[in-house]
């Protein structure tokens, strides 16, 4: 048998000591509930049940809990991200395609099945056609607005070897446009509008998947022009002449592409807000409860940063902005987060602006809500990545 040496004693002590240190730290330290940079809740200790033990699900949940609550997890994650970006120079870190002037979403490669895309487009157009009939049935007007996301807008900025989904978006837009046209459903593709303008660089964020406020403003103008042309309304459309932009200073914009990277990439974008020259007073109701009448929420988050949630306060399940101008039409907007920035502008043109986000609003179905409110105009705003999805805001008629 080998004789033990000082080295053996030292190593064994260090090895067991490290294991015990992690164990004690895992047990004694305060547990977190949320991971800010991962933007998710952390697993909590699972409840011990006989069924869970027998099936093994308790232990599986326990493993998730221990991993999520591992000592120094946050610091290690940040260090690991830094190493991936700057030491190992990985092109994709934490599912973000990293370049020095742009952060884009990573998507695994998918073989494009044009027939499947066309079939989905037809199906979605059928649903929207039925919705259009519902709206026009009481004399309203329906328009679907398709908006490019950051990835679609900057698809040419992806490296050649990463999936930009450009081919998919091209097939999707063509199929959807054709399907909607065949059914006579009004479709406004903001991508066409931006392309005609030469895809201005400052319309989309380099650190977030949304447009900038300039991009949202251009989209708002295009929507209002389209509504006026189609409906005959003569709604006021703000321009640079009577609308002023303002930088939000003193805070870092923690965009959705920057956050998974712990803000370690030196890309800083200034968030913009704006206001019409002439103030339009309004009352705001979130979920039927009166709240502060603001469209911008400048409260920084727990880390002192701001994000796209400054627009309308983020994704609100249901809200109403009442400007008390009954001579103007009412509008209902439904869709994902791309609605938020344009809502800060659209409310100015209507008596009442209703907004629902079917991902979080469950009280009534969209059809029931429309039947109840009977808005003069119904606008659906969805981006290319979910254009054909029948989930969330694509659930026009549940079941």
């Amino acid at each position: 048998m080998k004789k033990k040496s000082l080295g053996d004693i030292l190593f064994a002590a260090l090895f067991v000591g490290l294991l015990l240190a992690v164990m004690l730290s895992a047990v004694l330290r305060e547990k977190g509930t949320v991971s800010y940079y991962e933007n998710r809740t952390l697993a909590q200790r699972p409840a011990l049940t006989a069924a869970g033990v027998l099936s093994g699900s308790y232990f599986s949940a326990l493993d998730s809990y221990l991993s999520d609550q591992a000592p120094l997890r946050g610091t290690i994650s940040k260090l690991s991200t830094w190493a991936d970006i700057y030491l190992l120079c990985r092109p994709v870190v934490n599912n973000i395609v990293v370049s020095k002037d742009m952060l884009l979403a990573y998507t695994t490669f998918e073989a494009l099945d044009a027939e499947e895309v066309t079939a989905k487009a037809e199906s979605m157009a059928d649903s929207l056609s039925a919705l259009r009939d519902l709206v026009t049935g009481y004399g309203g007007y329906f328009c679907h607005v398709a908006v490019p996301g950051q990835g679609a807008y900057y698809s040419d900025r992806y490296p050649d070897y990463v999936n930009s989904r450009a081919d998919y978006y091209a097939v999707e837009r063509e199929a959807f446009s054709a399907a909607m046209a065949r059914r006579g459903v009004d479709l406004l593709d903001i991508g066409d509008v931006f392309e005609a303008m030469g895809n201005p660089e400052d319309y989309y964020s380099p650190v977030d998947h949304h447009y900038t406020y300039y991009g949202a403003f251009a989209a708002y103008q295009a929507m209002m022009e389209h509504i006026n042309e189609t409906t005959g309304y003569d709604l006021h459309i703000y321009s640079d002449a009577d609308f002023s932009f303002e930088e939000v200073e003193g805070f870092r914009y923690m965009g959705s592409r920057l956050r998974p990277l712990f803000g370690l990439v030196d890309l800083n974008e200034t968030l913009m807000i704006g206001a019409p020259e002439e103030d339009i007073p309004f009352t705001r109701y979130d979920g039927g409860v009166e709240v502060e009448p603001v469209v911008f929420n400048l409260q920084p988050d727990s880390m002192g940063n701001l994000s796209y949630t400054i627009y309308m306060g983020g994704d609100i399940p249901e809200l109403c902005i009442d400007t008390n101008r009954p001579e103007l039409p009412t509008i209902l907007i439904y869709g994902d987060s791309y609605t938020n920035a344009v809502e800060t502008l659209l409310y100015t043109g209507f008596d009442k602006l209703y907004s629902i986000d079917l991902r979080y609003y469950y009280e009534l179905s969209l059809a029931e809500y429309i039947a109840q409110v009977q808005p003069d105009i119904v606008l659906c705003i969805r981006d290319y990545s979910v254009l054909l999805s029948s989930e969330g805001n694509g659930t026009v008629f549940p079941n």
Partner: protein, 471 residues
């Protein structure tokens, strides 16, 4: 429970080490009892409902061992072996193969109901271990173990319980009753454990992500470079995943005084398929050799019989890995290659340069892994077609190279016997100043660094599968 988890590394293991070594060395049975309890808990962690199956397996093998190895009539002793085989293989057959056979027979129009059976973790491993005990006792290679707790400990010992290596009873029989734990052994075991952990966390998992990504795509759309990358990634994943587990099992065993045999000997440096199977999953191939191939007659028979013996072994080897025709084809693929090397092109192979032989061997192994990994035979053939350039034009090969370049480099280096070469180089210079310290402390310091890196991966990653868990 998996070795590469917070619960094992930082709760189970330190608790076991402390409790085990608090007990004085002279109280061997107490130490064994602690190991046994922890081993059963380890198994129950994946689902306590399967513990009963483990206990049944232990009980059956214990009783059959008493019968097979006792001073009874030969016929009775043989019945002990038969009973162990029937019960052990019967349970394995039901849990692992009932659905497969029912589906296969249904394709012939039988209309049998397909049982939905949940596969208990590690059943293939502990079944073979139990059978190894009974057969070794019957043959007289080992003495009957009258202490049921020792039989239980042998079958359920946690280091090799769920993913091997398959430890023969003769390997550990003496150590169960009279092993000598020591600090140097503990240290060496811990270093081995940490190297294995790093192989798993830092290389196998990353290669697994690449393989899973690519194999999840429609194989018909893959370009040749991407298809090759996927196959190579899986080739790396399965080796590093499985050998890592064996390293950890061997290391853990050593920490508690057990000396398991090596399970992998750098298989990807092989220059023939024959050599590959002397280096890959050694415990399984030797199990089949000793308990199936040689009893059937091995190679000491006429050619047709030899071919039949090889066919049986490789059919069973394929089936052991999984209840699917892919695995059967994978096993028979090696049957054909081994037959070819033995009777057809073996001589020609010997005369080729080493590099050519290595390329030949790796090509055939990678093709085999495509069968192993694919969901269906159809997918496997389509995938191989893509590797041959008959797929699509899916890009992204550059992405997988750039994204995982550290892991690709580490995988290539770690496939080679670099560690062995370094150790020899240091041993030759051991008298020179500094080299002795480097020889002793180099692996230990590296092991601690790898522990830190593995912990980083554990704390931040969610992708941590053990692919041999389904066996």
């Amino acid at each position: 429970m998996v070795f590469s988890s917070m619960s094992f590394l930082f709760f189970f293991l330190p608790a076991l080490i402390i409790l085990y070594y608090l007990i004085p060395k002279r109280l061997r049975e107490a130490r064994n009892l602690v190991l046994l309890v922890f081993s059963l808990f380890f198994y129950a962690y994946g689902g306590a409902r399967f513990l009963l199956l483990m206990l049944v397996s232990i009980a059956v093998n214990y009783v059959c061992g008493l019968v097979a190895g006792g001073k009874h009539r030969q016929a009775l002793r043989r019945w002990g072996v038969i009973a162990a085989l029937v019960v052990g293989l019967g349970l394995l057959g039901w849990y692992k193969y009932a659905g497969f056979f029912a589906e296969t027979l249904n394709r012939l129009g039988t209309g049998l109901p397909i049982p939905q059976v949940v596969l208990p973790i590690g059943i293939s491993f502990f079944t073979f271990q139990g059978l190894s005990y009974v057969i070794d006792v019957y043959r007289g290679d080992a003495k009957v173990q009258r202490n049921p707790l020792r039989v239980a400990l042998y079958i359920s010992l946690f280091p090799q319980l769920v993913a091997g290596p398959i430890v023969r009873y003769t390997t550990v029989a003496e150590e169960i009753g009279g092993r000598k734990e020591s600090l140097p052994e503990f240290t060496q075991g811990a270093v081995r454990l940490l190297f294995g952990l790093a192989k798993k966390m830092l290389i196998a998992n990353a290669m697994g992500r690449v393989a899973d990504d690519i194999f999840s795509m429609n194989a018909a759309t893959l370009s040749a470079p991407v298809a090759w990358l996927g196959a190579l990634a899986y080739t790396a994943q399965i080796y590093f995943d499985f050998s890592a587990y064996s390293d950890m099992a061997i290391g853990l065993g050593r920490m508690f005084g057990f000396h398991f045999l090596e399970n992998f000997e750098y298989p990807y440096i092989s220059r023939s398929i024959r050599e590959f199977w002397r280096r890959w999953h050694i415990s399984l191939s030797s199990w089949f050799r000793d308990y199936v191939y040689i009893p059937l007659g091995g190679s000491r028979c006429r050619v047709p019989r030899h071919i039949f013996n090889l066919f049986v072994v490789w059919l069973l080897t394929g089936l052991w890995h999984g209840a699917s025709w892919n695995f059967v084809v994978w096993g028979l693929w090696f049957f054909v290659l081994l037959l070819g090397e033995r009777y057809l092109w073996g001589g020609l192979l010997e005369r080729l340069p080493g590099a050519a032989r290595h390329v030949y061997t790796m090509l055939l192994i990678v093709i085999g892994w495509v069968f192993f990994r694919s969901d269906t035979m159809g997918n496997a053939l389509t995938y191989l077609g893509a590797m041959a350039g008959r797929g699509g034009s899916t890009g992204m090969a550059t992405y997988y190279l750039l994204e995982y370049w550290p892991e690709w480099i580490a995988a290539v280096i770690a496939c080679l016997p670099v560690k062995v070469a370094l150790e020899r180089a240091l041993d030759r210079r051991i008298e020179r100043p500094g080299y002795r310290a480097l020889r002793v402390w180099g692996p230990r310091c590296l092991a601690l660094v790898l522990l830190a890196l593995s912990y980083m991966s554990l704390a931040t990653g969610a992708f941590n599968p053990f692919i041999y868990f389904r066996f």
